[in-house]
Symmetry: C2
Subunit: 465 residues, 2 copies
């Protein structure tokens, strides 16, 4: 870790206080013991001869991916979703254990799909479980922000790693406030989903097919030089996407008023690019899956009840714990009592080294998620303590172009007790409310020792006794 | 001045070195004597009872202006330019004293206007002086980047301060490289000027009239949170302008291929917004003109031979000295011997507190103009030493949202010897070459004592002896 703008202080607070009084920011690197009960597992994993090479391989595979936007298509076609199948954010969840915003989004999506006329009627449908099923987006190469509900009739962005042909998918962003992904299901929410599927998505399909492939990894490179961290600030990314697709939208043959409305919708939603950043991150991280011995995290995802991680060396297994409350800023009269715990697949951005990990490059975000500018700078520096390397394509100008901290290492998290920093939107905890704010959150600490235990078990099982 | 991330050190280098070794950035505030020969004038101006109030009034008037884009129109209509009249950047200049890029741009513009068939034939025309005349853009409420040549057939952005009805003007940006404003005049340069006048500008006129007024001051607010300093980085500003005008361009009735080509041209030129930033800055600064007793600079401009400033308390008088060589990065095989001295009205951005003054918010710019990231941060801090105040609408997130340093004070410059920092494009010194690089430059020091002397003279003349 380089610390160009700080004094590093270990232990003695006297010096730290003295320097702080001179108005120099001080990074207190609190040395902490490893997480309780992890010593033996840390030793077993450290002794695994495959670990170093496996982690180098995982990081390199991830950094090697260039995500390109190649198509926009109905989920029924490209994800093979059937009527009654619902994808959702996070690790697996049942209707019974689902939080308010997850239920609200499922209810709205059932109405959008025509399974019920009134979203309220969907409660009985999901309680019965007849002809409906829930499955994580991640199990179908997809990701979804907040509730992440994806159904056959919704259209999705199609991203491809041209070198391998692998693809990932994500729905189109609906905007902020009262929207399905935050658990809202009022008539205007459903109506907007129909406009997305009937007008915007087919128009974008034609534009992407004419103008693409669009280099989404490259747009992310530029965004990080333009004050976006690509989780809760996606302004520059949204504008660059509009720039890249606008000429082809104009010549698409669609009616001018529809094209103009589509441009107004995209330009009016600073978060539009989030749904491109997320599958780009997943596409990179999926390249690091299933590498025996690697302790690198390949997914962090929340369903509003559970927070789960997947690790390169442990296949498709989820290590889960309770989603945490978010600490942040609230819209209007909302307060902490109105907020649901952490939800959404969007922590895939932090898993890939941006979002909360790149807050140093987006100091203006503190006005949206809370915290201070020095906090934002220090967060990025701190994340270098728990990551395997830096991303040379995604750099932070204000930190003298240092690459973003990339490849969360389960052993480093357990050894330091430093948890990944996520910034996120906050959903109302009741179905139907929508967004109530945005803030900062971490995973539940216990999921990392759980993953470590499994990594240790696999390491030991491979070692001849 | 706040110094949240620095240790301030005056004098003794031992402490500074010790702290620097601990990797803390150190701002060495070199105390310097006032500029040579300015003591008596500084005393006279300091004794002027009008000064404080006049400067408060000048700064407030400037900060109160909101620049809105209201129209795009031919210069012949809105600037009253007649055939043979050429506006140029900087203080007044003759053909005889004009530099290579200024001459090249005049030659190309003469061909564009149809005064000659071949740009080379324009040399004789300008040498004879028959039926041609040169006048600064600033004398007609206009500004122009680099050579700044503006002729009757060129179209200009029209910006308005809605409160006062005052207006300023600037041509449309042609892109980078071989373009008229850098002194190039090859056939493709002239052809592009015709496309701007025949297609792009009339299309933008229709779009601006339908979608405007567009809040350019507000776009500048956003840009400063998106890594632009609005002189040599205008990426976010360009994208936001495209976003704001695109829907109205689509419904303008122009043919789809022309609309798509216009969008590609705007989106393909990250500097497109510069020609909106400049008149927005001039519109603000013009509100501070002609305030007796004010020592605030209201214009800095260069014609490629002379660098001139105008001051609030000294009317339309120019205080001039030789344009300096630019220190920076060169395109391709070009080097210092190929570069013309500093040229253009674009230093109006620094005069208004952005550009070089706001480099802290655009650290990525060091890859274009040279220098280091700490230099960029320190430059903004240093400019607070020579300015009257801060702009609450234009803030720098990484400096904890401190307002940009605004209102250059002639007395502070003379008292500290700190010169305004400008970043700028570099024109080839030979007519016809175009851009050769970009870098950093300051005004010639002697123009500030010259302005101070005049301010002192006026102060004394008002004081009963």
């Amino acid at each position: 870790m380089t610390t160009p703008n700080t004094v590093v202080n270990v232990g003695a607070d006297l010096l730290a206080d003295a320097v702080a009084e001179q108005a120099v920011p001080v990074t207190r690197v609190d040395w902490r013991p490893p997480m309780v009960g992890t010593e033996a597992d840390l030793a077993d994993v450290a002794a695994d001869p495959r670990r170093r090479t496996a982690n180098e391989q995982a990081l390199a595979a991830m950094l090697d991916v260039t995500a390109t936007l190649v198509d926009v298509a109905p989920a029924s076609e490209v994800l093979g979703l059937q009527r009654g199948e619902f994808l959702h954010a996070g690790p697996p969840i049942t209707w019974e254990r689902a939080s308010g915003p997850m239920r609200g989004a499922l209810m709205g999506a059932a109405a959008f799909e025509g399974l019920v006329d009134d979203p309220e009627d969907a409660v009985a449908l999901f309680e019965s479980g007849a002809n409906v099923s829930l499955e994580p987006c991640h199990h179908r190469s997809a990701v979804g922000p907040m509730a992440g509900i994806t159904t056959p009739g919704m259209w999705v962005w199609v991203l491809e790693d041209q070198a391998s042909g692998r693809r990932t998918y994500c729905t189109l962003n609906e905007g902020l406030g009262k929207v399905l992904r935050y658990g809202a299901y009022a008539p205007d929410v459903i109506e907007r989903l129909h406009w997305l599927a009937d007008v915007l998505a087919p128009l974008l399909q034609k534009a992407v097919r004419a103008a693409g492939p669009v280099d989404i990894t490259g747009i992310l490179t530029q965004m990080l030089q333009m004050g976006d961290e690509a989780h809760n600030r996606n302004r520059a990314g949204t504008l660059m996407t509009l720039r890249d697709l606008a000429p082809a939208m104009v010549t698409s043959g669609f009616d001018a008023p529809d094209v103009a409305q589509a441009m107004r919708f995209i330009g009016g939603n600073d978060h539009f690019f989030l749904n491109l950043a997320m599958p780009a991150c997943k596409l990179a991280l999926d390249a690091a899956r299933n590498i025996d011995g690697s302790t690198m995290v390949v997914a962090m995802a929340r369903n509003g009840t559970d927070f789960g991680i997947q690790v390169a060396g442990t296949g498709d297994e989820w290590f889960t714990g309770p989603s945490q409350q978010v600490d942040g800023l609230y819209f209007g009269d909302y307060g902490p009592d109105d907020a649901n715990p952490d939800i959404g697949d969007s922590a895939i951005t932090e898993t890939a080294g941006i979002g909360g990990f790149a807050m140093a490059t987006a100091p203006a975000i503190v006005r949206f998620v809370g915290g201070s500018v020095p906090d934002a700078l220090n967060t990025t520096r701190r994340m270098h303590e728990i990551t395997l390397g830096e991303n040379p394509r995604w750099s932070v100008p204000v930190l003298e172009f240092q690459g973003t901290p990339t490849g969360i290492d389960v052993t480093k998290v357990c050894r330091t007790g430093i948890l990944p920093q996520i910034n996120t939107g906050m959903a109302g905890k009741l179905a139907g409310v929508g967004q109530v704010g945005a803030g900062l959150v971490t995973p539940p600490a216990e999921i990392f020792p759980k993953a470590l235990a499994r990594l240790a078990e696999l390491a030991v099982s491979r070692t001849p006794s």
